[in-house]
Amino acid sequence: MVEYVIIGGSAGGVGAVEAIREVDPAGAITVISEEPFPQYSRPMIADFLSGETPFEKMTYRDGKFWERNGVHALLGRKAVGLDLTKRQVRLDDGDEVAFEKLLIATGGRPFIPGIEGTEKKGVFTFTTLSDAEALAEMTNGVEKAIVIGGGLIGVGATEALVKREVEVTMVELKDKVLSLILDAAASDIVEKVIKKAGVTVVTGQTVKRIVGRRDDDASVGGAVLTNGEEAPCDVVIVAIGVIPRTELVAGTEIKVNRGILVDRFMRTNVPDVYACGDVAEAYDFIWGENRPLPLWPVAHLGGRVAGYNMVGVKKEYPGGTAMSALKYLDLPIISVGLTNPDGGTYETMIKYAPEKDVYKKIVLKDDLIVGMILVNEIEKAGIVFHLMKNRINVEGFGHELLSDDFGLITLPENLRRMLLGD
Protein backbone atom coordinates (compact mmCIF):
# COMPACT_ATOMS: atom_id res chain seq x y z
CA MET A 1 0.00 0.00 0.00
CA VAL A 2 1.46 3.27 -1.14
CA GLU A 3 1.74 6.11 1.35
CA TYR A 4 0.87 9.41 -0.22
CA VAL A 5 1.50 12.61 1.69
CA ILE A 6 0.12 15.93 0.53
CA ILE A 7 1.18 19.16 2.21
CA GLY A 8 -1.59 21.68 1.66
CA GLY A 9 -5.34 21.12 1.70
CA SER A 10 -6.53 23.70 -0.81
CA ALA A 11 -7.22 23.47 -4.57
CA GLY A 12 -4.06 21.48 -5.41
CA GLY A 13 -4.44 19.05 -2.53
CA VAL A 14 -8.10 18.40 -3.32
CA GLY A 15 -7.31 17.84 -7.03
CA ALA A 16 -4.57 15.38 -6.14
CA VAL A 17 -6.78 13.41 -3.76
CA GLU A 18 -9.48 13.14 -6.43
CA ALA A 19 -7.04 11.86 -9.04
CA ILE A 20 -5.33 9.40 -6.67
CA ARG A 21 -8.65 7.97 -5.54
CA GLU A 22 -9.86 7.48 -9.11
CA VAL A 23 -7.05 4.98 -9.58
CA ASP A 24 -6.03 3.78 -6.13
CA PRO A 25 -8.86 3.31 -3.64
CA ALA A 26 -6.61 1.66 -1.07
CA GLY A 27 -3.44 3.75 -0.76
CA ALA A 28 -2.95 5.69 2.47
CA ILE A 29 -3.35 9.42 1.90
CA THR A 30 -2.31 11.93 4.53
CA VAL A 31 -3.09 15.61 4.01
CA ILE A 32 -1.33 18.14 6.20
CA SER A 33 -3.11 21.48 6.30
CA GLU A 34 -2.23 24.45 8.42
CA GLU A 35 -5.81 25.61 8.34
CA PRO A 36 -8.10 24.11 10.96
CA PHE A 37 -11.21 24.24 8.73
CA PRO A 38 -12.75 21.76 6.31
CA GLN A 39 -11.50 22.43 2.78
CA TYR A 40 -13.04 25.56 1.32
CA SER A 41 -12.83 27.83 -1.69
CA ARG A 42 -10.35 30.62 -1.09
CA PRO A 43 -11.62 32.73 -3.99
CA MET A 44 -14.87 33.04 -2.05
CA ILE A 45 -13.39 34.89 0.93
CA ALA A 46 -14.39 38.23 -0.58
CA ASP A 47 -18.03 37.10 -0.75
CA PHE A 48 -17.66 35.87 2.84
CA LEU A 49 -16.31 39.22 3.99
CA SER A 50 -19.04 41.12 2.17
CA GLY A 51 -21.58 39.07 4.10
CA GLU A 52 -23.15 37.53 0.99
CA THR A 53 -21.80 34.03 1.48
CA PRO A 54 -21.88 32.00 4.69
CA PHE A 55 -19.10 29.49 5.29
CA GLU A 56 -21.43 26.54 4.56
CA LYS A 57 -21.62 27.70 0.96
CA MET A 58 -17.85 27.97 0.67
CA THR A 59 -17.00 24.29 0.96
CA TYR A 60 -15.17 23.57 -2.26
CA ARG A 61 -16.32 19.95 -2.17
CA ASP A 62 -18.80 18.66 0.37
CA GLY A 63 -18.02 19.11 4.04
CA LYS A 64 -16.96 15.46 4.35
CA PHE A 65 -14.51 15.42 1.47
CA TRP A 66 -11.51 14.13 3.42
CA GLU A 67 -13.54 11.47 5.24
CA ARG A 68 -15.31 10.33 2.11
CA ASN A 69 -11.99 9.82 0.36
CA GLY A 70 -10.42 8.01 3.28
CA VAL A 71 -7.91 10.77 3.83
CA HIS A 72 -6.04 11.04 7.09
CA ALA A 73 -6.39 14.81 7.44
CA LEU A 74 -4.04 16.54 9.82
CA LEU A 75 -5.78 19.88 10.08
CA GLY A 76 -4.34 22.82 11.94
CA ARG A 77 -0.91 21.20 11.71
CA LYS A 78 2.12 22.62 10.01
CA ALA A 79 4.89 20.88 8.11
CA VAL A 80 8.16 22.44 9.21
CA GLY A 81 10.83 20.20 7.75
CA LEU A 82 11.58 17.68 5.03
CA ASP A 83 14.01 14.81 5.22
CA LEU A 84 14.36 13.59 1.68
CA THR A 85 16.75 10.77 2.60
CA LYS A 86 14.58 9.29 5.33
CA ARG A 87 11.48 10.32 3.34
CA GLN A 88 9.77 12.04 6.19
CA VAL A 89 7.89 15.25 6.77
CA ARG A 90 8.42 16.82 10.18
CA LEU A 91 5.47 18.57 11.81
CA ASP A 92 5.47 21.54 14.15
CA ASP A 93 4.93 19.32 17.19
CA GLY A 94 7.91 17.14 16.31
CA ASP A 95 5.84 14.29 14.82
CA GLU A 96 7.15 12.71 11.67
CA VAL A 97 5.06 11.53 8.73
CA ALA A 98 6.63 9.02 6.36
CA PHE A 99 5.92 9.24 2.64
CA GLU A 100 6.52 7.23 -0.48
CA LYS A 101 5.04 9.89 -2.75
CA LEU A 102 4.97 13.50 -1.67
CA LEU A 103 3.08 16.48 -3.08
CA ILE A 104 4.09 19.94 -1.95
CA ALA A 105 1.06 22.19 -2.34
CA THR A 106 1.84 24.78 0.30
CA GLY A 107 0.49 27.64 -1.78
CA GLY A 108 1.60 31.22 -1.65
CA ARG A 109 1.92 33.80 1.04
CA PRO A 110 1.03 37.45 0.79
CA PHE A 111 3.91 39.65 -0.18
CA ILE A 112 4.41 42.39 2.38
CA PRO A 113 6.79 45.08 1.25
CA GLY A 114 9.02 46.97 3.63
CA ILE A 115 6.41 49.45 4.77
CA GLU A 116 6.95 50.97 8.18
CA GLY A 117 4.14 50.17 10.62
CA THR A 118 2.80 46.88 9.23
CA GLU A 119 2.99 45.40 12.74
CA LYS A 120 0.21 47.68 13.96
CA LYS A 121 -3.22 46.37 14.91
CA GLY A 122 -5.51 46.85 11.95
CA VAL A 123 -3.09 45.78 9.21
CA PHE A 124 -4.33 42.76 7.29
CA THR A 125 -3.55 40.58 4.34
CA PHE A 126 -6.38 38.99 2.41
CA THR A 127 -5.83 35.46 1.16
CA THR A 128 -7.37 33.10 3.71
CA LEU A 129 -10.61 32.53 5.55
CA SER A 130 -8.89 33.57 8.78
CA ASP A 131 -7.98 36.89 7.15
CA ALA A 132 -11.60 37.40 6.11
CA GLU A 133 -12.90 36.47 9.56
CA ALA A 134 -10.49 38.84 11.27
CA LEU A 135 -11.36 41.62 8.85
CA ALA A 136 -15.09 41.03 9.28
CA GLU A 137 -14.70 41.36 13.02
CA MET A 138 -12.50 44.43 12.78
CA THR A 139 -14.58 46.30 10.22
CA ASN A 140 -17.82 46.27 12.16
CA GLY A 141 -18.51 49.94 12.57
CA VAL A 142 -15.17 50.90 11.10
CA GLU A 143 -15.34 53.84 8.74
CA LYS A 144 -12.25 54.02 6.59
CA ALA A 145 -9.96 51.48 4.98
CA ILE A 146 -6.93 51.73 2.75
CA VAL A 147 -6.29 48.88 0.37
CA ILE A 148 -2.72 48.74 -0.88
CA GLY A 149 -2.75 47.18 -4.32
CA GLY A 150 -5.18 47.42 -7.21
CA GLY A 151 -4.74 43.85 -8.41
CA LEU A 152 -7.12 40.89 -8.16
CA ILE A 153 -6.89 40.58 -4.37
CA GLY A 154 -7.08 44.33 -3.81
CA VAL A 155 -10.13 44.85 -5.99
CA GLY A 156 -11.85 41.84 -4.39
CA ALA A 157 -11.18 43.14 -0.88
CA THR A 158 -12.30 46.62 -1.90
CA GLU A 159 -15.63 45.42 -3.22
CA ALA A 160 -16.29 43.40 -0.06
CA LEU A 161 -15.49 46.37 2.17
CA VAL A 162 -17.71 48.67 0.13
CA LYS A 163 -20.54 46.21 0.68
CA ARG A 164 -19.80 46.46 4.41
CA GLU A 165 -20.26 50.21 4.03
CA VAL A 166 -16.61 50.97 4.69
CA GLU A 167 -15.15 53.97 2.91
CA VAL A 168 -12.25 52.63 0.87
CA THR A 169 -9.21 54.25 -0.68
CA MET A 170 -7.40 51.97 -3.10
CA VAL A 171 -3.74 52.78 -3.64
CA GLU A 172 -2.05 51.30 -6.69
CA LEU A 173 1.60 51.83 -7.50
CA LYS A 174 1.12 51.42 -11.24
CA ASP A 175 -0.76 53.96 -13.35
CA LYS A 176 -3.72 51.61 -13.79
CA VAL A 177 -5.67 49.14 -11.70
CA LEU A 178 -5.45 45.45 -12.66
CA SER A 179 -2.48 46.36 -14.83
CA LEU A 180 -1.11 42.81 -14.83
CA ILE A 181 -4.14 41.41 -16.63
CA LEU A 182 -5.80 44.32 -18.44
CA ASP A 183 -4.78 46.98 -20.90
CA ALA A 184 -5.38 50.68 -20.33
CA ALA A 185 -8.83 50.81 -21.97
CA ALA A 186 -10.24 47.86 -20.01
CA SER A 187 -8.63 49.12 -16.82
CA ASP A 188 -10.32 52.48 -17.31
CA ILE A 189 -13.73 50.79 -17.46
CA VAL A 190 -12.99 48.98 -14.20
CA GLU A 191 -11.73 52.14 -12.55
CA LYS A 192 -14.87 53.99 -13.56
CA VAL A 193 -17.04 51.28 -11.99
CA ILE A 194 -14.93 51.18 -8.82
CA LYS A 195 -15.16 54.94 -8.45
CA LYS A 196 -18.89 54.85 -9.06
CA ALA A 197 -19.17 52.51 -6.07
CA GLY A 198 -17.74 55.31 -3.95
CA VAL A 199 -14.12 54.20 -3.78
CA THR A 200 -11.26 56.68 -3.97
CA VAL A 201 -8.70 55.35 -6.41
CA VAL A 202 -5.14 56.64 -6.13
CA THR A 203 -2.73 55.45 -8.81
CA GLY A 204 0.98 55.97 -9.25
CA GLN A 205 1.35 55.96 -5.47
CA THR A 206 1.90 53.53 -2.68
CA VAL A 207 1.89 53.60 1.08
CA LYS A 208 5.22 54.62 2.54
CA ARG A 209 4.33 54.40 6.20
CA ILE A 210 1.43 53.27 8.35
CA VAL A 211 0.92 55.57 11.31
CA GLY A 212 -0.71 54.89 14.67
CA ARG A 213 -3.75 56.49 16.21
CA ARG A 214 -3.20 59.59 18.25
CA ASP A 215 -4.55 57.89 21.36
CA ASP A 216 -3.08 54.46 20.57
CA ASP A 217 0.09 54.21 18.54
CA ALA A 218 -0.15 50.41 18.32
CA SER A 219 -3.35 50.66 16.25
CA VAL A 220 -3.71 51.90 12.69
CA GLY A 221 -4.70 55.53 12.44
CA GLY A 222 -3.64 56.45 8.94
CA ALA A 223 -1.22 55.96 6.10
CA VAL A 224 1.33 58.21 4.47
CA LEU A 225 1.58 57.94 0.71
CA THR A 226 4.75 58.28 -1.34
CA ASN A 227 3.78 61.84 -2.24
CA GLY A 228 3.75 62.69 1.47
CA GLU A 229 0.00 63.00 1.84
CA GLU A 230 -1.49 61.40 4.91
CA ALA A 231 -4.85 59.68 4.74
CA PRO A 232 -6.67 58.71 7.93
CA CYS A 233 -7.95 55.14 8.16
CA ASP A 234 -8.87 52.44 10.64
CA VAL A 235 -7.62 49.43 8.71
CA VAL A 236 -5.00 48.79 6.05
CA ILE A 237 -5.16 45.79 3.75
CA VAL A 238 -1.93 44.79 2.09
CA ALA A 239 -2.95 43.21 -1.19
CA ILE A 240 0.12 43.42 -3.35
CA GLY A 241 0.26 39.81 -4.41
CA VAL A 242 1.41 36.40 -3.30
CA ILE A 243 4.79 34.75 -3.53
CA PRO A 244 5.44 31.00 -3.55
CA ARG A 245 5.74 29.58 -0.06
CA THR A 246 8.92 27.64 -0.57
CA GLU A 247 10.45 27.84 2.90
CA LEU A 248 9.79 24.15 3.54
CA VAL A 249 12.18 23.09 0.78
CA ALA A 250 14.87 25.68 1.54
CA GLY A 251 18.15 23.92 2.17
CA THR A 252 17.00 20.70 0.48
CA GLU A 253 18.09 19.56 -2.95
CA ILE A 254 14.68 20.46 -4.42
CA LYS A 255 15.26 23.06 -7.09
CA VAL A 256 13.59 26.41 -6.63
CA ASN A 257 13.57 29.37 -8.96
CA ARG A 258 10.84 31.76 -7.89
CA GLY A 259 8.68 28.72 -7.13
CA ILE A 260 9.47 25.03 -6.93
CA LEU A 261 10.40 23.96 -10.43
CA VAL A 262 8.34 21.12 -11.85
CA ASP A 263 8.32 19.35 -15.21
CA ARG A 264 5.30 18.59 -17.37
CA PHE A 265 4.38 15.77 -14.97
CA MET A 266 4.50 18.06 -11.94
CA ARG A 267 7.65 16.30 -10.74
CA THR A 268 10.37 18.18 -8.91
CA ASN A 269 13.98 17.23 -9.53
CA VAL A 270 13.77 14.79 -6.58
CA PRO A 271 12.17 11.43 -7.42
CA ASP A 272 8.68 10.88 -5.97
CA VAL A 273 8.39 14.51 -4.88
CA TYR A 274 5.84 16.62 -6.74
CA ALA A 275 4.65 20.22 -6.46
CA CYS A 276 1.68 22.18 -7.77
CA GLY A 277 -0.30 25.36 -7.26
CA ASP A 278 0.93 28.71 -6.02
CA VAL A 279 4.15 27.24 -4.60
CA ALA A 280 5.17 25.76 -7.94
CA GLU A 281 6.63 27.13 -11.09
CA ALA A 282 5.02 25.09 -13.84
CA TYR A 283 4.56 25.33 -17.58
CA ASP A 284 2.69 28.25 -19.14
CA PHE A 285 1.36 27.37 -22.59
CA ILE A 286 1.42 30.95 -23.85
CA TRP A 287 4.79 31.98 -22.43
CA GLY A 288 6.20 28.58 -23.45
CA GLU A 289 8.17 28.33 -20.24
CA ASN A 290 7.73 27.77 -16.52
CA ARG A 291 6.49 30.59 -14.33
CA PRO A 292 4.48 31.02 -11.14
CA LEU A 293 0.72 31.26 -11.77
CA PRO A 294 -1.06 31.76 -8.47
CA LEU A 295 -4.55 30.91 -9.75
CA TRP A 296 -7.13 28.54 -8.31
CA PRO A 297 -8.06 26.58 -11.47
CA VAL A 298 -4.39 26.19 -12.38
CA ALA A 299 -3.67 24.82 -8.90
CA HIS A 300 -6.53 22.35 -9.11
CA LEU A 301 -5.47 21.11 -12.53
CA GLY A 302 -1.84 20.85 -11.43
CA GLY A 303 -2.98 18.88 -8.39
CA ARG A 304 -4.95 16.45 -10.52
CA VAL A 305 -2.03 15.88 -12.88
CA ALA A 306 0.33 15.41 -9.92
CA GLY A 307 -2.11 12.94 -8.38
CA TYR A 308 -2.31 10.81 -11.51
CA ASN A 309 1.47 10.71 -11.85
CA MET A 310 1.93 9.94 -8.16
CA VAL A 311 -0.33 6.94 -8.55
CA GLY A 312 1.56 5.77 -11.62
CA VAL A 313 -0.74 6.94 -14.41
CA LYS A 314 1.44 9.02 -16.69
CA LYS A 315 -0.40 12.23 -17.43
CA GLU A 316 1.08 15.30 -19.02
CA TYR A 317 0.27 18.74 -17.64
CA PRO A 318 -1.20 20.75 -20.51
CA GLY A 319 0.01 23.93 -18.86
CA GLY A 320 -1.76 26.89 -17.48
CA THR A 321 -1.54 30.55 -18.27
CA ALA A 322 -2.61 33.85 -16.79
CA MET A 323 -6.38 33.38 -16.81
CA SER A 324 -8.87 35.32 -14.77
CA ALA A 325 -12.61 35.69 -14.82
CA LEU A 326 -13.79 38.69 -12.83
CA LYS A 327 -17.16 39.54 -11.40
CA TYR A 328 -16.23 42.56 -9.35
CA LEU A 329 -19.02 45.10 -8.93
CA ASP A 330 -21.16 43.19 -11.42
CA LEU A 331 -18.75 43.96 -14.26
CA PRO A 332 -17.98 40.65 -15.98
CA ILE A 333 -14.45 40.47 -17.40
CA ILE A 334 -12.32 37.67 -18.78
CA SER A 335 -8.61 38.07 -19.33
CA VAL A 336 -6.33 35.35 -20.65
CA GLY A 337 -2.69 35.25 -21.67
CA LEU A 338 -0.71 38.14 -23.03
CA THR A 339 -3.13 41.05 -23.09
CA ASN A 340 -0.72 43.94 -23.20
CA PRO A 341 2.05 43.01 -25.60
CA ASP A 342 4.96 45.27 -26.27
CA GLY A 343 6.88 45.12 -29.50
CA GLY A 344 5.71 45.05 -33.05
CA THR A 345 5.32 41.38 -33.89
CA TYR A 346 1.86 41.14 -32.40
CA GLU A 347 -1.39 41.81 -34.17
CA THR A 348 -4.16 43.32 -32.06
CA MET A 349 -7.88 43.38 -32.80
CA ILE A 350 -10.14 45.59 -30.73
CA LYS A 351 -13.87 46.17 -30.59
CA TYR A 352 -15.07 48.89 -28.27
CA ALA A 353 -18.58 50.14 -27.62
CA PRO A 354 -18.12 52.82 -24.94
CA GLU A 355 -21.85 53.45 -24.45
CA LYS A 356 -22.32 49.85 -23.29
CA ASP A 357 -18.88 49.46 -21.69
CA VAL A 358 -18.29 46.56 -24.02
CA TYR A 359 -14.63 46.05 -24.81
CA LYS A 360 -13.08 43.10 -26.60
CA LYS A 361 -9.49 42.55 -27.55
CA ILE A 362 -7.64 39.67 -29.12
CA VAL A 363 -3.86 39.52 -29.46
CA LEU A 364 -2.39 37.35 -32.19
CA LYS A 365 1.13 36.30 -33.03
CA ASP A 366 1.81 34.42 -36.23
CA ASP A 367 -1.89 33.51 -36.52
CA LEU A 368 -1.98 32.05 -33.03
CA ILE A 369 -4.10 33.68 -30.34
CA VAL A 370 -1.90 34.66 -27.41
CA GLY A 371 -4.19 36.95 -25.46
CA MET A 372 -7.77 38.06 -24.93
CA ILE A 373 -9.70 40.59 -22.89
CA LEU A 374 -13.49 40.57 -22.86
CA VAL A 375 -15.46 43.13 -20.88
CA ASN A 376 -19.24 42.72 -20.47
CA GLU A 377 -19.70 40.34 -23.41
CA ILE A 378 -17.95 37.23 -22.24
CA GLU A 379 -20.03 34.22 -23.22
CA LYS A 380 -17.89 33.13 -26.18
CA ALA A 381 -14.64 33.36 -24.23
CA GLY A 382 -14.28 29.60 -23.90
CA ILE A 383 -14.22 29.01 -27.64
CA VAL A 384 -11.35 31.48 -27.98
CA PHE A 385 -9.66 29.95 -24.94
CA HIS A 386 -9.85 26.52 -26.58
CA LEU A 387 -8.15 27.88 -29.72
CA MET A 388 -5.48 29.49 -27.57
CA LYS A 389 -4.82 26.51 -25.39
CA ASN A 390 -4.56 24.09 -28.27
CA ARG A 391 -2.39 26.50 -30.27
CA ILE A 392 -4.78 26.34 -33.22
CA ASN A 393 -3.82 28.43 -36.22
CA VAL A 394 -6.63 30.91 -36.94
CA GLU A 395 -5.49 31.96 -40.40
CA GLY A 396 -8.58 32.50 -42.52
CA PHE A 397 -11.04 33.04 -39.68
CA GLY A 398 -9.06 35.09 -37.15
CA HIS A 399 -10.73 38.29 -38.34
CA GLU A 400 -14.12 36.92 -37.24
CA LEU A 401 -13.13 36.25 -33.62
CA LEU A 402 -14.69 39.50 -32.39
CA SER A 403 -17.75 39.53 -34.61
CA ASP A 404 -21.10 39.41 -32.84
CA ASP A 405 -22.09 36.09 -34.37
CA PHE A 406 -18.74 34.43 -33.70
CA GLY A 407 -19.26 30.87 -32.56
CA LEU A 408 -18.43 27.28 -33.36
CA ILE A 409 -19.94 27.97 -36.74
CA THR A 410 -17.11 30.37 -37.50
CA LEU A 411 -14.55 27.59 -37.18
CA PRO A 412 -13.44 25.64 -40.26
CA GLU A 413 -15.59 22.55 -40.71
CA ASN A 414 -12.94 19.97 -39.80
CA LEU A 415 -12.09 21.82 -36.61
CA ARG A 416 -15.74 22.16 -35.66
CA ARG A 417 -16.44 18.49 -36.31
CA MET A 418 -13.45 17.44 -34.27
CA LEU A 419 -14.57 19.61 -31.38
CA LEU A 420 -18.17 18.44 -31.50
CA GLY A 421 -17.10 14.83 -31.89
CA ASP A 422 -19.31 13.99 -34.83
Partner: protein, 148 residues
Protein backbone atom coordinates in the same frame (compact mmCIF):
# COMPACT_ATOMS: atom_id res chain seq x y z
CA UNK B 1 -25.12 7.95 -20.96
CA UNK B 2 -27.24 9.69 -23.55
CA UNK B 3 -26.01 12.90 -25.14
CA UNK B 4 -27.46 15.42 -27.55
CA UNK B 5 -25.82 15.66 -30.95
CA UNK B 6 -26.34 18.51 -33.32
CA UNK B 7 -26.29 17.93 -37.04
CA UNK B 8 -25.68 21.18 -38.85
CA UNK B 9 -26.62 19.66 -42.20
CA UNK B 10 -30.22 19.13 -41.07
CA UNK B 11 -30.55 22.31 -39.02
CA UNK B 12 -32.83 24.88 -40.67
CA UNK B 13 -32.16 27.55 -38.08
CA UNK B 14 -35.81 27.71 -37.04
CA UNK B 15 -34.91 28.39 -33.42
CA UNK B 16 -37.61 26.17 -31.93
CA UNK B 17 -34.96 24.52 -29.75
CA UNK B 18 -34.35 27.86 -28.05
CA UNK B 19 -38.06 28.55 -27.68
CA UNK B 20 -38.78 25.21 -26.02
CA UNK B 21 -35.66 25.44 -23.86
CA UNK B 22 -36.78 28.83 -22.56
CA UNK B 23 -40.28 27.53 -21.84
CA UNK B 24 -38.98 24.40 -20.12
CA UNK B 25 -36.78 26.47 -17.81
CA UNK B 26 -39.45 29.04 -17.05
CA UNK B 27 -41.66 29.05 -14.00
CA UNK B 28 -44.83 28.25 -15.90
CA UNK B 29 -43.24 25.85 -18.43
CA UNK B 30 -45.68 27.36 -20.91
CA UNK B 31 -44.39 29.07 -24.05
CA UNK B 32 -46.88 31.92 -24.15
CA UNK B 33 -46.69 32.65 -20.45
CA UNK B 34 -42.90 32.38 -20.43
CA UNK B 35 -42.61 34.81 -23.33
CA UNK B 36 -45.38 37.21 -22.41
CA UNK B 37 -45.52 37.30 -18.64
CA UNK B 38 -42.19 36.30 -17.14
CA UNK B 39 -39.67 39.08 -16.73
CA UNK B 40 -36.84 38.85 -17.14
CA UNK B 41 -37.45 35.98 -19.48
CA UNK B 42 -35.45 32.83 -18.70
CA UNK B 43 -32.45 32.23 -20.89
CA UNK B 44 -32.10 29.50 -23.48
CA UNK B 45 -29.42 27.02 -22.55
CA UNK B 46 -29.04 26.07 -26.18
CA UNK B 47 -27.58 28.60 -28.61
CA UNK B 48 -28.55 28.72 -32.24
CA UNK B 49 -25.59 29.86 -34.32
CA UNK B 50 -26.18 31.09 -37.83
CA UNK B 51 -23.87 31.88 -40.69
CA UNK B 52 -26.00 31.40 -43.74
CA UNK B 53 -26.38 28.89 -45.26
CA UNK B 54 -25.05 27.16 -42.14
CA UNK B 55 -26.83 26.94 -38.84
CA UNK B 56 -26.09 24.89 -35.76
CA UNK B 57 -27.48 24.52 -32.25
CA UNK B 58 -24.98 24.20 -29.43
CA UNK B 59 -25.39 23.25 -25.79
CA UNK B 60 -23.36 21.62 -23.00
CA UNK B 61 -21.70 18.45 -24.29
CA UNK B 62 -21.37 16.94 -20.82
CA UNK B 63 -17.66 16.34 -21.49
CA UNK B 64 -15.85 13.24 -20.35
CA UNK B 65 -13.26 15.48 -18.68
CA UNK B 66 -15.12 18.76 -18.28
CA UNK B 67 -12.84 21.81 -18.14
CA UNK B 68 -15.63 23.72 -16.35
CA UNK B 69 -15.54 21.27 -13.44
CA UNK B 70 -11.77 21.53 -13.17
CA UNK B 71 -11.87 25.30 -13.25
CA UNK B 72 -14.91 25.92 -11.02
CA UNK B 73 -13.85 28.04 -8.06
CA UNK B 74 -16.73 27.17 -5.76
CA UNK B 75 -17.35 23.50 -6.49
CA UNK B 76 -20.80 24.26 -7.95
CA UNK B 77 -19.99 22.53 -11.23
CA UNK B 78 -19.55 18.81 -10.90
CA UNK B 79 -19.91 15.62 -12.86
CA UNK B 80 -22.48 13.21 -11.51
CA UNK B 81 -20.55 9.97 -11.24
CA UNK B 82 -23.57 7.79 -11.94
CA UNK B 83 -25.30 9.63 -14.78
CA UNK B 84 -22.25 11.32 -16.34
CA UNK B 85 -24.22 14.57 -16.48
CA UNK B 86 -22.29 17.76 -15.78
CA UNK B 87 -24.45 19.30 -13.10
CA UNK B 88 -24.48 22.90 -11.99
CA UNK B 89 -25.59 23.70 -8.46
CA UNK B 90 -27.16 27.17 -8.40
CA UNK B 91 -26.97 27.32 -4.64
CA UNK B 92 -23.20 26.90 -4.60
CA UNK B 93 -22.39 29.01 -7.67
CA UNK B 94 -20.57 32.26 -6.87
CA UNK B 95 -21.01 33.66 -10.37
CA UNK B 96 -17.29 34.09 -10.99
CA UNK B 97 -17.61 33.15 -14.70
CA UNK B 98 -14.51 30.95 -14.65
CA UNK B 99 -16.46 28.09 -16.27
CA UNK B 100 -17.47 30.42 -19.10
CA UNK B 101 -13.78 31.20 -19.65
CA UNK B 102 -12.87 27.55 -20.24
CA UNK B 103 -15.90 25.94 -21.95
CA UNK B 104 -14.71 25.05 -25.49
CA UNK B 105 -18.30 25.22 -26.74
CA UNK B 106 -19.27 28.54 -25.24
CA UNK B 107 -22.17 26.55 -23.81
CA UNK B 108 -22.39 28.18 -20.39
CA UNK B 109 -24.32 31.40 -20.05
CA UNK B 110 -24.83 34.11 -17.50
CA UNK B 111 -28.30 33.71 -16.09
CA UNK B 112 -30.18 36.98 -16.61
CA UNK B 113 -32.73 35.96 -13.99
CA UNK B 114 -29.92 36.24 -11.54
CA UNK B 115 -26.67 37.57 -12.93
CA UNK B 116 -24.91 36.01 -9.99
CA UNK B 117 -24.96 32.49 -11.39
CA UNK B 118 -24.50 30.64 -14.67
CA UNK B 119 -26.98 28.49 -16.56
CA UNK B 120 -26.34 25.55 -18.82
CA UNK B 121 -28.06 22.53 -20.37
CA UNK B 122 -29.28 20.10 -17.71
CA UNK B 123 -30.66 17.57 -20.24
CA UNK B 124 -34.17 18.37 -18.94
CA UNK B 125 -34.32 16.32 -15.74
CA UNK B 126 -37.46 14.23 -15.47
CA UNK B 127 -38.07 14.08 -19.20
CA UNK B 128 -37.37 11.05 -21.37
CA UNK B 129 -36.09 13.28 -24.17
CA UNK B 130 -34.87 16.88 -23.75
CA UNK B 131 -37.34 19.41 -25.15
CA UNK B 132 -34.94 20.79 -27.77
CA UNK B 133 -34.58 17.33 -29.29
CA UNK B 134 -38.25 16.46 -28.96
CA UNK B 135 -39.30 19.63 -30.77
CA UNK B 136 -36.64 19.79 -33.48
CA UNK B 137 -38.75 19.52 -36.66
CA UNK B 138 -35.98 18.22 -38.88
CA UNK B 139 -34.20 15.86 -36.47
CA UNK B 140 -31.08 17.99 -36.52
CA UNK B 141 -30.86 17.39 -32.80
CA UNK B 142 -30.50 13.76 -31.86
CA UNK B 143 -30.44 12.21 -28.40
CA UNK B 144 -28.43 9.02 -28.41
CA UNK B 145 -26.48 6.71 -26.21
CA UNK B 146 -22.71 7.12 -26.18
CA UNK B 147 -20.12 4.91 -24.59
CA UNK B 148 -18.41 6.42 -21.59
Amino acid sequence: MKKIFSNGEFCMGCGLCEVYCIAQHSKSKDILKAYKREYPRPISRIRLEEKRPLSLAVQCRHCEEPPCVDACLSGAMHKDEETGIVVHDDGKCMGCWTCIMVCPFGAIRMDPLNRKVVAKCDLCPGLEVPVCVANCPNEALVYREVET
